[in-house]
């Protein structure tokens, strides 16, 4: 079964919408069939939205049942960050590809902060 992300929730910007998307998905997951979710390109999809959806899929041990169809590097980056943070297997497929793959977990960069006596030494861009 193939669904659009906007079929599950709209807009796809917040954590609460991610939870809503999972609730929409749950009856379909219970049927046991594989599900493809097309993360539509022309709508912003926030990390919080994806994180909540993936977290709940992981908690219900259903993440392997879902493949995210990915249109952009930015969305793939977000899924990689979530896979690393949540230690959940996230499956994806490029729109042009026909092979589903496990999204490689890539943790967020955590740059060291320096303490400064004055306000930031670098001005606005």
């Amino acid at each position: 079964m193939k669904l659009l992300s906007t079929d599950l929730a709209y807009p796809t910007l917040t954590r609460s919408r991610g939870a809503m998307a999972y609730l929409q998905l749950k009856p379909l997951l219970n049927e046991g069939a594989p599900i493809e979710i097309d993360l539509v390109e022309d709508q912003p999809i926030s990390l919080s939205f994806l994180d909540e959806l993936v977290r709940l899929l992981g908690d219900s041990q259903a993440s392997g049942q879902v493949t995210f169809l990915v249109h952009s590097e930015d969305i793939l980056r977000k899924l990689s960050r979530i896979a690393a943070m949540r230690s959940v297997d996230v499956w994806a497929q490029g729109v042009d590809g026909n092979v589903r793959f496990l999204v490689p977990p890539v943790p967020f960069d955590e740059p060291e902060a320096t303490q400064s006596g004055a306000k930031p030494s670098i001005g606005k861009p």
Binding site: L47, R55, A113
Partner: protein, 270 residues
Amino acid sequence: LNLNFWTVDELLAKVDLAQVRPNIDLSNVTFLEPFALVYLGAYLRHHNRHGKSFTVNLPTATGARGYLARMRFWERFNFSPDLIRRENLVRLSSSTSFNDILDIENTGNVAEEIGEGVLRILRSNVVSVNKTSIAELVSELVDNFAQHSQGPLAICTVQYYPNAHRVDFAIGDCGIGIRNSLSSNPQYQSLRSQPHNVAALKAFEPLVTRRGEGGTGLTEVAEGIRDARGMLVLSTGDGWVSMTEAKTERGFMYHDLPGVQIELSFPEER
């Protein structure tokens, strides 16, 4: 005087709060950047809430003075937030104007409403920025404030500077602040004895939040601002944090203002 992140706290630290009706001297202000607008608004709201009212020397520069009037700044911030008239809880009524102050109430869809509104405005103007990315980051921040502020209202504003080729977004409140919020989670209780700027940096780490399931909003905002080669500045209490692609810094503000105030600056792609 350009009132911005670098100057606004120093100016307000000079206000003698021991006086019955303290004086805020804005007479030399010629320009206000979004961070300063939000910081000054949060300052007035915080003290108004505690029964303090101020005498304000308005800017002598007509540009700055007119700007504050057009923002209905004094009507919005010189009174208790409970008394703001309903029609003045502005909600991106224009699809073209960047220059509104918006109030953020803790309602279910305020983050989406403002995120989508900002996207609409960016799309209808010729601004060379990653529009969807900015809308997502704005939405993450607004959601964060709506969830965690515990104050009556937060505020935000967007400004486009065509000559400087830059879009600034600022958001702020005078709520409980990052340190109080995070340390209410037993896991981060030790932050209570740390400086505000340490607690603020902690909040940018993945899954660090006062709630159990962990949040990602500020982590994503930090990465987004680095990717856009922009700048983030944040103040909370007497602490500040700044982030650019090259550097993350933290330090102390001149003034200790409750709540959180943040500005994101996005350069245009050329």
